[in-house]
Symmetry: C2
């Protein structure tokens, strides 16, 4: 359970074979980009490796996986990418891989150090920045496919360079992977410029629920299960919708309440500085980054809204 | 009427004093970022300079102008920034400054070479990239205020690094101005993350007009004058709305028709490769970039839609 340097992480990977790379559940561009970039690098080194995830990979990421990664081999070593807490692997996987992760490559300041070795750079905007830096230590040069993976993770975790986690280094890595042939036209179109008609219907339904609180300093929208049926959209379509409440002029704290099941809700919080989304969510048993965090709350929608607003109010008054 | 090198452009500027820097009408982040960056650089060199524009500067750009630029002096030299055609200065200014522009700094491939000297880099994503490169030739180092200007132009003209005009060099310049202190948190929030309640009302009204054509390969929305009254929004709020049609899955060509006056409409076109927005708009008397262009059409809304769809259909069949 120790932090390791890039050199040590590379040494560990170079000593391994038959490697399973684990992405977090509800996989996003950063965990998948990290996983597939690392997998391609390990295969370039002549190793057997594959990516695994407890959830299905959303179809829009298929350009990352369009290569044979399903060769079968007996797994010997387990590496996690972009996983802040073993719980985030999903219930079943978390149990299965407890105390078995040899190396975790991550960028979350909230990392629980569940792995035997953790390569952590909490100043990195994305785990893909850490993986990119690791490539040099592995002696692997990024090809176009790896460049696509790295660009995907960096662009999705920074909202395409909009979020405050973006640094000068983020732009330098973006520039480097563009030079290696990252297809930013395709990736940006798929990640940011494509809204399905189902998404647009869900967005309209969600916007109808939008309510303002605390003199317009907080906005909350709600997505109930029946809206997925009405719109034809999926839960993975909600990411962009969750960004909307904070985008309204004057709003400091924007929240989205998504019904997961009867009496079970996922709250996504986005804040402007200095309001700390991770701190507000931690008070409700969740966590995340200073400007974007989440938690689960059990109870009726009214209960959830009460608890959420109580915690938001405390933060606004702090 | 000649193209000039960076060296020659710098030499010209260094030989001038009492300089008016002209931005295009309906000023955006790039023309304003270029104008104020250049103005600050010229003032750092001990020259008298100010920025001028035929239109009011939208309030959201006030952080660019928060410095005394209104000192009075008798204008001797006129420089344009991000102006592809003298018409784009606005009717009155175009007449007033005809044959008087000594230097034009631009990045539009469609530049009409109306100035005595033109510094043109059509591979640049933004005129601000050209201005940034010019700074070194002027012997001026970017300070925080100049960095804010440059970042504003680059980020707004690339849709925050999403559009296909973004290059590896764009990211390198972004990284450099971040190191000089560009406040990307504030700028991105103002440019991309802030939607007024008026905007949100206008977006809803505009989305209600959205129609699909040619088997979903084209989407068109319409913004009529009365929608500004109903929503309280302004025409400068429409930029983000114009991006929506192309964002719908399967759409190759997205169009927005904005009523400017009775029987007078502005069309904004956004395409995915290989469809050429500039070519389609050129056929209707307009111009622009391959993926984003515009034109004005006179007639009833039905007439405008007919002409627009006829030209879009021709392009889709091409």
């Amino acid at each position: 359970m120790s932090l390791v340097s890039f050199e040590k992480a590379a040494e560990l990977l170079l000593s391994m074979n038959n490697i399973i790379i684990l992405c977090h559940a509800n996989p996003d561009g950063d965990t998948l980009g990290s996983g597939f970039a690392l997998c391609r690098a390990l295969k370039a080194l002549g190793k057997r490796a594959r990516v695994d995830c407890s959830c299905e990979i959303p179809r829009k990421f298929s350009y990352l996986t369009d290569c044979v990664f399903n060769e079968s081999f007996e797994a010997e070593n387990f590496v996690a990418v972009d996983v802040a807490d073993i719980k985030l692997l999903g219930d079943e996987y978390a149990k299965k891989y407890e105390n078995k992760i040899k190396l975790n490559i991550d960028h979350h300041g909230s990392n629980t150090m569940f792995a035997e070795n953790t390569l952590l750079d909490s100043s990195a905007a994305a785990a893909c920045e850490v993986v990119y830096e690791l490539l040099a230590h592995l002696g692997v040069e990024a090809n176009k496919a790896i460049a696509d993976c790295i660009y995907t993770g960096i662009s999705t975790d920074t909202g395409c360079f909009r979020f405050t986690n973006t640094t000068a280094k983020t732009h330098i890595i973006a520039s480097k992977v563009m030079e290696k042939g990252a297809d930013i036209e395709k990736i940006n179109r798929l990640m940011f410029e494509t809204k399905s008609r189902e998404y647009m219907r869900l967005e309209k339904l969600a916007l109808d629920t939008l309510k303002m609180y605390f003199d317009g300093r907080c906005a909350v929208l709600t997505i109930m299960q029946d809206m997925y049926e009405k719109s034809g959209a999926k839960e993975s379509d909600t990411d962009a919708i969750c960004a909307i409440p904070r985008q309204i002029e004057g709003v400091q704290i924007g929240a989205s309440i998504k019904q997961k099941a009867e009496n079970r809700f996922k709250v996504s919080l986005r804040t402007h500085a200095p309001y700390d989304a991770a701190k507000i969510c931690a008070a409700m048993g969740g966590g995340g980054h200073p400007r974007a965090a989440g938690c689960e709350i059990f109870g009726s929608l009214d209960d959830v809204l009460d608890e959420l607003l109580k915690n938001i109010e405390a933060s606004l008054e702090d």
